[in-house]
């Protein structure tokens, strides 16, 4: 039945916006597939299933033992998005995806805007206030610098602009999640997103080892170094690992300043989207401009996200509600990532230039490290901040 309806165009069967939910019968198999992938991947609110990938990784973390106090799989950025993605990727590549699942799996296109909008209360800008103005400026400047440099360098390294955009977002914000968030905005391909993600995580891992070595030479105070890790490495556990490798005080300040990077994260992906969107408007006819092609106006969910972000920053959503909303985000992205994983063949990840993305991450990441260290060093030297 589903194959019959699938051949009828959406426009033909559309009655209202709710038509995009399709019929219950059509979507059930796919939704169930996503559901089971999600609960086999993560600890999700309401489902006390201990046998999942998240717990397996945590077990392996404990077998390996901590590195600089941090868990190894966290350093390699396993989280609720990527656990479900890997589970989907595994199932899709080993067993394939039956047609009957596909209607349900197409819910990914509802889950992505849904999840992005619900992320808004996670970024309460006021939480950064405790860091003081100068650290906020350093983090913001590093963000814009990295994103811009990455987008510019992409042309020299002949990286596809969609690929470069998601990479720029992930690298600049220091959070590979952003690669996934940017996916629908940029209209990036799944393979590009994963390639960018892997590049960001790998470079982050390298940076978290290298930065403490450089940091020791530069002679920053632990507090200043903690700030530097947040901006120059990012990515939670990777930054903390770099911080704790320097000293325990630096590690604690990594955690302290991490909130600044965290709450500014939306600015990072909105910046990348904005730049690419304007660029597309300027070079409409250029066949090399792929990013945001097909996005005719600023998508409504981006606007809703920005409004929600502003509302959340006015402290409308109090703490337990924020936790509850974030639990829903976890559910949402776990389901979506499962579908994304199923959609992709492993080969596709390398289709967009096996090492080109990684090379781009390395070059712009290195420039960022230099930029951040210089900025922090100057601030410390001219006592712009009491490090």
């Amino acid at each position: 039945m589903h194959s019959t309806t699938a051949n009828i165009s959406y426009e033909a069967r559309r009655k209202s916006i709710w038509s995009s939910l399709y019929s219950f019968q059509e979507v059930l198999p796919g939704l169930l597939a996503m559901f089971f992938i999600a609960i086999a991947s993560n600890n999700l609110a309401g489902v006390p299933n201990p046998f999942n990938l998240e717990n397996l990784f945590h077990y392996l973390d404990n077998v390996i033992g901590p590195v600089n106090g941090q868990y190894v799989f966290q350093i390699f950025n396993t989280n609720f998005v990527w656990n479900a993605f890997f589970m989907g990727l595994f199932i899709g590549n080993v067993f394939g995806v039956p047609d009957s699942w596909k209607r349900g799996l197409s819910y990914i296109h509802k889950f992505m805007p849904l999840g992005i909008v619900m992320l808004a209360p996670h970024f309460i800008v006021g939480h950064a206030a405790k860091a003081g103005l100068v650290p906020i400026l350093i983090v913001a400047a590093a963000l814009v610098f990295t994103a811009s440099v990455t987008l510019l360098l992409a042309r020299f390294l002949r990286v596809d602009d969609r690929h470069a955009s998601v990479l720029a977002g992930g690298l600049a914000t220091g959070d590979p999640h952003v690669c996934a968030i940017l996916m629908p905005m940029i209209k990036a391909r799944g393979g590009q997103v994963i390639n960018a993600f892997v590049s960001v995580v790998l470079f982050g891992a390298i940076a978290s080892v290298v930065l403490p070595l450089i940091g020791a030479k530069v002679g920053l105070s632990p507090q200043a170094f903690g700030l530097a890790t947040v901006s120059a490495v990012g990515n939670g556990a990777q930054a903390f690992s770099a911080g704790f490798a320097h000293s325990s005080e630096a590690g604690r300040f990594s955690i302290y300043y991490d909130v600044v990077r965290h709450v500014l994260m939306p600015a990072g992906f909105l910046y990348v989207f904005g730049v690419m969107f304007v660029r597309k408007l300027m070079f409409r006819r250029d066949p090399a401009v792929n990013a945001t092609r097909g996005v005719d106006s600023i998508p409504l969910y981006v606007i809703v996200f920005v409004v929600s972000w502003i509302v959340a920053s006015l402290h409308v959503v109090k703490e337990p509600a924020h936790v509850a909303i974030f639990e829903m985000v976890k559910w949402d992205f776990s389901l979506a990532a499962g579908a994304l994983g199923l959609s992709m063949s492993v080969r596709e990840i390398w289709d967009w230039g096996t090492w080109r993305g990684f090379a781009l991450a390395c070059v712009s990441g290195t420039l960022r490290i230099a930029f951040v260290l210089a900025a922090v060093w100057l601030c410390a030297k001219y006592q712009l901040f009491n490090f």
Binding site: Y59, G65, Q70
Partner: protein
């Protein structure tokens, strides 16, 4: 296993040989031969709270009573030498511990090397040690099992000693410190007094007995001096044998005069007048395998007594069977989930009789090798109060070494339903001379702890550690916890708050403890912590601090609220401040000399105290209406815990001080146990009196206690001066200046040890005169009795003369101490120069002396955007003692705040006390007795959080029952 054993023995011999031959090894050889029982790991040993293979969970027994079980692994008395780590016999040990006790016939759960088991049988005994002398500071062996007695310290009243001691089990656990003395009145004598309700004068007697009866343990002293205690007898319970089952039991409804099938056997039950004749046969019923009269087991406490346990079960070891008959409502069969502890306490209105058949039986004998691995020795330890099983210890029987070649030592082999394997292993590597740089513990699932050498460049000279959350840790840390918590190498530890929609709110924080996660700032410039000496040369440590308690974020109004009494300044000495000996204390940064004091006794009669199911101190719930007041703003009485001794309720009553700290150890109250009754297995006194605080219960029940009478001291006012008192020696007729007056000695009587004095004003008229003394006659109640104290002092206006009690008359001259500029502080009075604060002097519950000075806020303190700072109490010069500064607060979360003090032009700030976001500004600043008391209450949790803080990761979420508890208590 045997090969391994042989190897480790060879190692031991080889090591012993080397040590004997090398003179450098003498110290180590001594350590190797020393018995580590009752000793703690190194003072700076790493503590790791969680390792998955070591469980920490709560279960319920068949009657629905919760048992809190936990496991741990500890290593003590090890040392690293020449690239080799050596652990003496008994140095490495596994502990399985239950918070209170497990008993037979209850299906009580117990962990054995990670495996859930049930205790079935227990063979206990009472060990008696006669004529036992011990010196102060000693930890002396009582027996060959490794029990030690610890003589912690001695203090005095009326210049006579009373000693504080503790019985330490081989694992290092001790339940409490108990006081004994042979110089004071028996507590029963308190009954002879007839006190009116309300306030009366200070007691002349001091109540403390030569015998401390603690349930199954009794300590009877023969002689107590300042240096030694000689015990007449010490009795304590030991466990000789215990039998467990590793499987959930089979429960079969009993069929009278007929059989049930169990595996390939029949179990018959024939009704007899006093139970059931249980007969086990083979499948066909031809062969009788065992037969016995078994009485149904119900939860009466006496049934597990020596010699009675056997009536309630049939054990057939050769068939791996243990049968009990249980009466239960059938919905309860096998249930861990139905909490009946709040329901019908005993027996069931409607029930069924069931066979409960256990298999996978496992017997352990104290001191014998562990059955699965004879490298380890079994230790069974009893709860000193109830005599039932509390701890299982498995310790290495022979010394072992770890070095680069063999860097791993397996723990005992565990029982498993699938695969018997070592329960854990200790791994050490990267040796360099006398240092080791890596060591950790791996559990049976191959998960490991972090490297326990925390300072990678310095290394460690031993491989001591403690991993797990067993309550024994609290005892092991007794000597070092304050130093550990005060350690600033990781800066001020700040535990993030758990944010909820409903902040805990109390209208008045008096008698409350601060949030157990409140950050602790051990020292801050401007707060004194100084040692001073009294006239007798005794050192007194004075220490100031302040506490914020009960504060919360009122997120509806974007503000932080500190309730009345939520902020208090505290000044306290290491012990109470006594008159007549020139003792000093610190008051708002200034050294003050105590002149005199006025105390009284508060008595309350015939009142009820409710049992607190949830307690604000330690257990976080702001339930408050159960508090019973003992005097206005003086003490609060709380019934916090209860247990059963042979079905009699033993209630634990805490007297809580205004500061929120408990006064001494809790009072144990139970009725019907006469310590002189030899037939009873428990001894507990019916009333309780310690020093000058006493309770006489009329009825002790599980839900409330009816008090016939209760009394405790209260301090009404105290007199002090900032001017150092001076000593004068005057013969009859000689004079000295005393403030605006002239002091004249009229006579000095060396024989009677008294001095007559007169005080003249400027015109020469006598304004006061008095004979101070006789010291000799009053000697037996000095220096604590205030009537006696007053007889030795002459106070007039703001001056005072006091006779020197140690040397009243010298060469015919009266020896006097002169106090001028005396100030008076009265309880509940506003601070003269800063009416925002009220003075609450706290009294010593033993001795009526000044114990602590508190200054607290009578009005709530509000901190918000417009008022982000608050000044603490002003010093007399008008500058604040400290200032609270909120740096970053978003209306819901506090992201940054600190305390600052100013000395001249320099401002000293604490670290950010909301380094991780907090929902209150509760804090402990300074390190005196009050702060220490709060730290002690949440010691294990605090110590555990430090490890996560050190690593910069979140503690794991609680699971199962523990999660529910954690949630309830947040």
């Amino acid at each position: 296993m045997h090969t391994r054993d042989l190897i480790s023995m060879l190692f031991a011999f080889a090591l012993a040989a080397t040590l004997v031959l090398t003179p450098a090894g003498v110290r180590e050889a001594a350590a190797l031969e020393a018995n580590p029982h009752g000793f703690e790991p190194a003072d700076d040993m790493p503590y790791i709270p969680d390792l998955t293979g070591l469980r920490h969970q709560s279960f319920k027994n068949q009657y629905g009573q919760p048992r809190h079980l936990s496991e741990g692994v500890a290593l003590r008395q090890s040392f690293v030498k020449d690239g080799k780590a050596t652990v003496p016999a008994g140095g490495l040990y596994y502990i399985s511990e239950v918070e209170d006790e497990v008993r037979p016939l209850m299906r009580d759960p117990f962990f054995i090397l990670g495996e859930h088991s049930y205790l079935l049988k227990l063979k206990t005994a009472r060990r008696v040690v006669k004529d036992f002398p011990i010196k102060k500071g000693e930890k002396k062996f009582l027996d060959s099992d490794g029990y030690r007695l610890w003589f912690d310290y001695v203090t005095d009243h009326y210049q006579k000693p009373y000693a504080q001691l503790a019985l330490i089990s081989p694992a290092g656990h001790w339940p409490l410190e108990f006081p004994v003395s042979t110089h004071f009145q028996e507590m029963n004598e308190i009954k002879q007094h007839d006190f009116p309700e309300g306030e009366s004068e200070q007691l002349w007697n001091f109540y403390l007995e030569d015998t401390y009866a603690y349930g199954a343990s009794v300590f009877k002293a023969k002689e107590v001096t300042f240096d030694t205690v000689v015990f007449d007898s010490i009795e304590y319970p030991v466990i000789e044998e215990a039998m467990f089952s590793f499987s959930r039991p089979w429960t079969l409804e009993l069929r009278q005069e007929d059989y049930r099938l169990y595996k390939d056997k029949r179990i018959y039950a024939f009704r007899r007048p006093n139970g059931f004749l249980v007969r086990v046969t083979n499948l066909s019923g031809n062969e009788v395998l065992a037969e016995k009269l078994v009485r149904p087991s119900t939860p009466q406490g006496y049934k597990d007594a020596e010699g009675r346990q056997d009536e309630y079960s049939l054990t057939i070891p050769e068939q791996d069977m243990h049968i009990e008959i249980m009466i239960d409502p059938d919905y309860l069969s096998n249930s861990d989930f139905v909490p009946t502890s709040v329901d019908v306490p005993y027996g069931w209105t409607e029930g069924t009789l069931s066979f409960v058949v256990y298999d996978d039986l496992f017997s352990l004998k104290n001191g014998e090798p562990w059955p699965l691995d004879d490298r380890f020795k079994v230790g069974l330890e009893a709860n000193a109060l109830t005599g039932r099983l509390q701890r299982l210890i498995l310790e290495n029987a022979a010394p072992f070494t770890l070095d680069s070649a063999s860097g791993s030592y397996d723990g005992p082999v565990k029982f498993s339903h699938f695969w018997n394997r070592p329960a854990f292993s200790v791994v050490a590597k990267n040796f360099d001379g006398d240092k080791v740089f890596t060591y950790y513990l791996r559990d049976r699932f191959f998960q490991r702890t972090d490297n326990m050498v925390f300072s990678a460049d310095k290394g460690r000279g031993d491989i001591d550690f403690f991993v797990g959350r067993t309550p024994t840790l609290v005892s092991l840390l007794e000597d070092t916890f304050l130093t550990r918590l005060a350690d600033q190498s990781l800066d001020t530890v700040v535990e993030p708050s758990h944010f909820t929609s409903y902040p805990k709110v109390v209208s008045n924080a008096a008698f409350y403890a601060p949030d157990p996660t409140a950050p602790f700032v051990p020292s801050q410039k401007g707060f004194t912590r100084k040692k001073d000496k009294n006239r007798r040369g005794e050192g007194l440590l004075s220490s100031e601090g302040f506490v914020i308690r009960g504060s919360y974020v009122d997120y509806d109004n974007n503000r932080i609220v500190i309730p009345p009494s939520g902020l208090y300044y505290t000044s306290r000495n290491a012990r109470n401040v006594r008159a007549l000996t020139g003792e000093t204390f610190v008051f708002l940064g200034r050294k003050a000399y105590l002149a005199s004091f006025e105390s009284a006794t508060v008595v309350r009669k015939n009142f009820d105290i409710d049992y607190w199911r949830l307690q604000p101190t330690g257990q976080l719930n702001p339930v408050y209406w159960q508090d019973e007041a003992l005097g206005y703003n003086n003490k609060s009485v709380r019934f916090t815990e209860h247990t059963y001794l042979d079905d009699r309720v033993m209630g634990e009553v805490n007297i809580v001080k205004y500061s929120g700290n408990p006064f001494g150890a809790p009072f144990h109250l139970t009725q019907g146990f006469d310590p002189k009754d030899k037939a009873s297995r428990y001894s507990v006194t019916e009333l309780f009196a310690e020093g000058s605080t006493w309770t006489i219960p009329a009825y002790v029940g599980p839900n409330y206690i009816r008090m016939a009478e209760m009394g405790t001291p209260v301090l009404k006012r105290f007199f002090y001066t900032y001017t150092e008192p001076t000593q004068v020696k005057l013969a009859a007729g000689e004079t000295a200046k005393l403030g605006a007056y002239t002091l004249e000695v009229l006579s000095a009587d060396a024989g009677n040890t008294s001095v007559s004095i007169a005080l003249r004003d400027a015109s020469g008229a006598i304004v006061a005169n008095k004979t101070l003394g006789s010291v000799k006659e009053l000697w037996d109640v000095l220096p604590q009795q205030q009537v006696a104290v007053k007889k030795l002092q002459l106070m007039h206006g703001n001056v005072m003369a006091e006779i020197d009690i140690d040397n009243p008359v010298e060469n015919g001259k009266g020896v006097l101490w002169l106090f001028t500029d005396i100030l008076e502080s009265e309880m509940d009075q506003k601070l003269a120069w800063d009416p925002r604060f009220t003075i609450r002097p706290d009294v010593c519950g033993h001795c009526y002396q000044l114990n602590e000075i508190l200054l607290d806020n009578p009005e709530p303190i509000i901190l918000d955007k417009n008022n982000p700072t608050y000044d603490g109490p002003l010093k007399e010069d008008g500058t604040p003692m400290f200032r609270i500064v909120i740096d970053s607060f978003d209306g819901e979360m506090i992201h940054a705040w600190h305390v600052e003090t100013q000395i001249k032009d320099k401002v000293f700030k604490t670290s950010n006390l909301a380094f991780r976001p907090r929902n209150n500004i509760d804090v402990l600043v300074g390190a005196n007795g009050s702060v220490e008391g709060f730290l002690r209450q949440g010691m294990l949790e605090r110590m555990a959080y430090i490890e996560y803080w050190r690593r910069g990761v979140h503690p794991p979420l609680h699971e199962g029952l523990a999660a529910r508890e954690a949630l309830n208590l947040q």
